[in-house]
């Protein structure tokens, strides 16, 4: 009959419980840390360590099973659907912060300045405030504190952000080039392409760290610089985190490729990593346009 006969159903899963324990401990530790409790940091570290061990163990298990041919085409389709819908959930997560940027910039900041329904607000609360963007609000917040005339310098689009755009776009090309190598059975092209992609990914993160350093030390631009700083760092910060995750996934794929894993007809992990990488790429284009450029 069809491939339905051989659908692989694993038994006795121990990694999921460990993943839950690690994540729960990490988050409980983080919460304690935020509450200034001394057990916070050690809990976070233990939880994180459990999570890393779990990741290594679970990835190894899946890789071993995959290489020993336990996954039929139908199982592969389930994995691919899982990854697609996971990426969709990530899209919605970023949509929240893009939406917040749009709402504050186009609606609530103008209302604060007295437009439309904000006429009375302006009169009663902050009569001197003139709506503009970028802004740190009527209280001119610097590092989260109200100031008399606190100012910050917004991040320009040209220079490092433009360079980073080119870096990420190039990494998307090298990733696809590596995929073509895999499909054609050219292992050297696969490995070279992946090395280039991972390197460009981490280079992007390094430049981004440099940009943050500039913002915090030179430009007075921090998470506490009102709504501009909040949206800027939240969007670019979560994106940077996702680039790190994507680069780490690609590193795992690179490691597996160097071990001779993946075949032209069976390489789900590579595809998942590549999809994730392109997703991160597209989010950056959105960021470049809406956060940096306009």
């Amino acid at each position: 009959m069809s491939s339905h006969d051989t659908y692989y159903i694993p038994h006795k899963a121990t990694w999921p419980v460990m993943a839950t324990a690690g994540l729960m401990m990490f988050l409980a530790g983080f919460a304690n840390y935020l509450n200034h409790s001394s057990i916070g940091s050690p809990m976070m570290m233990i939880g994180f360590a459990i999570f890393i061990v779990m990741l290594a163990g679970w990835f190894t298990l899946q890789a071993t099973e995959s290489e020993s041919g336990m996954y039929s085409t139908q199982v592969g389709i389930s994995f691919r659907m899982g990854m697609m819908w996971f990426i969709f959930s990530e899209v919605m997560f970023f949509a929240v912060f893009f939406g917040s940027l749009w709402y504050t910039r186009n609606l609530s900041v103008p209302w604060l300045g007295g437009e439309g329904i904000g006429a009375a607000t302006k009169e009663l609360l902050w009569p001197e405030f003139e709506a503009h963007w970028p802004t740190n609000g009527p209280a001119k917040l610097i590092k989260g504190m109200p100031t008399e005339d606190g100012e910050f310098e917004p991040m320009g689009a040209f220079g490092l952000p433009l360079l980073n755009t080119l870096i990420l776009l190039t990494s998307g090309v090298t990733c696809t080039w590596a995929h073509h190598g895999l499909l054609a059975g050219h292992r050297e092209q696969l490995i070279k392409g992946l090395i280039a992609t991972v390197t460009l990914g981490f280079l992007f993160v390094a430049f981004q760290a440099f940009e943050y350093h500039e913002a915090y030390t030179e430009m007075g631009l921090t998470l506490g610089s009102g709504i501009y700083g909040s949206t800027f760092f939240m969007l670019t910060g979560f994106h940077g985190f996702h680039v790190c995750v994507g680069a780490i996934i690609l590193s795992v794929v690179l490691f597996r490729s160097s071990k001779g894993h993946f075949k032209p007809e069976n390489h789900f992990a590579f595809e998942a990593a590549a999809w994730y990488w392109h997703f991160v790429d597209v989010v950056w284009l959105g960021l470049f346009v809406f956060v940096y450029l306009i």
């Binding site: 009959m1 069809s2 339905h4 006969d5 659908y7 159903i9 694993p10 006795k12 899963a13 990694w15 999921p16 419980v17 839950t20 324990a21 994540l23 729960m24 988050l27 409980a28 983080f30 919460a31 935020l34 509450n35 139908q74 389709i77 389930s78 994995f79 659907m81 899982g82 819908w85 996971f86 969709f88 959930s89 990530e90 919605m92 997560f93 949509a95 929240v96 939406g99 917040s100 709402y103 504050t104 609606l107 609530s108 604060l112 439309g116 329904i117 740190n136 609000g137 009527p138 209280a139 917040l141 989260g144 109200p146 998470l223 506490g224 009102g226 709504i227 700083g229 909040s230 939240m234």
Partner: protein
């Protein structure tokens, strides 16, 4: 649904893996039936935990004045009652049903991603544990209402980061569960089980899963901004920094409105599964049911601000959200019409699952009508934040989602356990619940219209009578649910002792593949897929 198996396979026994021995079985299991059971037991437990909180609320409101609890604790109770019932009881209850029934209904050997299935359950437990831990913290559990509006919620004590991370864990759990359901339905159907032959329970869950994946990350994002506003100097919801507390409300309800449909769409699915069996007719208007479900899901994304009519939106916004909200009545009306038409001239019998389902159709419609009243923006200015709202959404949740979860329990318990439940006690449970739920919630309409606000531990004396009646109804309703607990335990341990047949209910095999399997369903089912052929029944 109408489908039969042409050739029944008996390969169940030669499958190498049975369940693990002892407690470990439940921790490491990847079996959809085990995980379904875990979800259902967890949901039932949380139903009583959340119910106990509701009893605290109704006891305090029995008379005006402060009787039993501090106002702060009272507010924690309303908040935690809602969070526990939504995320701990109703949603996991339906996920448990999905786990048990979807593979059996579509002829699949298991869920598509069994390891992730295990993880989604344990993430749920972790999330609820974090949430429950806040009850014992300095400053008390969150007391802002389940909506967690800033700036009020930012005044929470040490509980705030725990509550926020609990939402993150619950979100991860729901998203993974939903991904699994979508992958199962799209990828694991038996040959011949086309999309438009799927039981409506499967259809409604497919659409619900899509809603979950779309909105749980939105809630996660919203609470993340609460976290950074409190601890990392951001000003998303702080007007002094150029932010806006109303922004939170928009984001929350962009999640929150689809969320209420996440709880009601699987309810519709179960009702559409049960009613035809006991009316002994095929479901009336199958395809219109599918399209109505999809329409409701679509509309749920574009009506969120009807929860915020009094917040001071531009008039264009008020009008748009008012008209868009009214549209929901159309697909919902289609559904109510179809359930009624299914029963029309049917050979109806009134076993407990059917009684709960009929009560659902009547009482959910009532809850829907009050929803229609509130969709009218100028009227809503009177209803907003009063007990009228409380009455409305409890009518759409308790005699709807909760009643249908009960109906599902009675309907499928014989298939799960191989035993018959005690019909007499079942019917007693139904009548006590159906009467007391109305004593509990109907007077709250009057209280709300007269102006009694929600989320307060004390009230003016003119509200005393109806509150006392409501509380009495609440106590009866709460106590009646112990009957359900008794029945579940009794049925698992042998029930009436009567041997149930494979189809359990007369001609049920015409309505769904699960009734072609033995009772109790073996540990592994459909390890080779059945051949589904359509019958004249559709």
């Amino acid at each position: 649904m109408s489908a039969v198996i042409a050739e029944h396979d008996h390969h169940d026994d030669d499958h190498a893996h049975g369940p693990e021995k002892g407690l470990l079985r439940w921790i490491v299991t990847t079996n959809h039936k085990d995980i379904g059971t875990l979800y259902l037991v967890f949901a039932l437990t949380m139903f009583f935990v959340g119910g106990a909180m509701a009893m605290v609320i109704r006891a305090e409101l029995f008379e005006p004045g402060l009787q039993f609890v501090e106002p702060q604790f009272f507010n924690s109770m309303t908040t935690m009652h809602a969070l526990v019932m939504v995320f701990g009881a109703v949603m996991p209850g339906f996920v448990g049903l999905a786990n048990w029934m979807i593979p059996m209904m579509i002829g699949a050997p298991d869920m598509a991603l069994p390891r992730m299935n295990n993880m989604s359950f344990w993430m749920l437990v972790a999330g609820v544990l974090l949430l429950a831990s806040t009850l014992f913290m300095e400053g008390g559990a969150p007391a802002s209402g389940w909506t967690l509006y800033p700036p009020l919620v930012l005044q929470t004590g040490k509980a705030l980061p725990f509550a926020i991370f609990s939402v993150h864990l619950l979100g991860i759990s729901s998203i993974m569960g939903a991904i699994n359901i979508i992958a199962t339905i799209f990828n694991m159907r038996a040959p011949g089980m086309t999309l438009m032959k799927m039981p409506l329970f499967v259809w409604t869950w497919l659409i619900t899963a899509f809603l979950l994946i779309a909105v749980m990350p939105v809630f996660a994002g919203a609470v993340t901004m609460l976290l950074t506003d409190k601890f990392f100097e951001t000003s998303f919801f702080n007007a002094a920094g150029g932010g806006d507390p109303v922004l939170y409300q928009h984001i929350f309800w962009f999640f929150g409105h689809p969320e209420v449909y996440i709880m009601i769409l699987p309810t519709f699915g179960v009702a559409s599964t049960i009613i035809p069996v006991f009316a002994r007719k095929p479901l009336f208007g199958y395809s219109s049911m599918v399209y109505a479900t999809a329409s409701i899901a679509f509309l749920s994304f574009i009506v969120w601000a009807h929860h915020m009519f009094t917040v001071g939106m531009p008039i264009a916004g008020e009008l748009y959200f008012m008209y868009a909200t009214m549209l929901i009545a159309i697909p919902t009306g289609v559904k109510v019409f179809n359930w009624t038409a299914t029963m029309w001239k049917g050979s109806m019998t009134f076993e407990t699952p059917m009684l709960f389902s009929i009560a659902f159709v009547v009482l959910f419609t009532l809850g829907g009508f009050t929803g229609l009243m509130m969709s009218i923006a100028p009227s809503d200015f009177q209803y907003h934040d009063t007990y009228f709202i409380v009455a409305h959404f409890h009518y759409t949740l308790v005699p709807a989602s909760v009643f249908i979860l009960m109906a599902a329990g009675y309907y499928w318990l014989p298939k799960w356990t191989g035993h018959m439940y005690n019909e007499k006690i079942g019917q007693l449970h139904f009548w006590l619940s159906a009467v007391s739920v109305n004593i509990l919630f109907f007077p709250q309409h009057f209280l709300g219209l007269a102006g009694m606000p929600r989320r307060i531990p004390d009230y003016a004396v003119q509200f005393a009578d109806w509150n006392m009646i409501s509380s009495i109804g609440g106590f009866i309703f709460g106590a009646s649910q112990l009957l359900f607990l008794y029945i579940v335990i009794d049925t698992v341990r042998g029930g009436t002792g009567e041997k149930v047949s494979d189809e359990v209910w007369e001609d049920a095999h015409k309505h769904g593949l699960e009734w072609t399997l033995p009772s109790p369903a073996p540990y592994h089912t459909f390890t080779t897929p059945p051949t589904v052929i359509p019958t004249e029944h559709i």
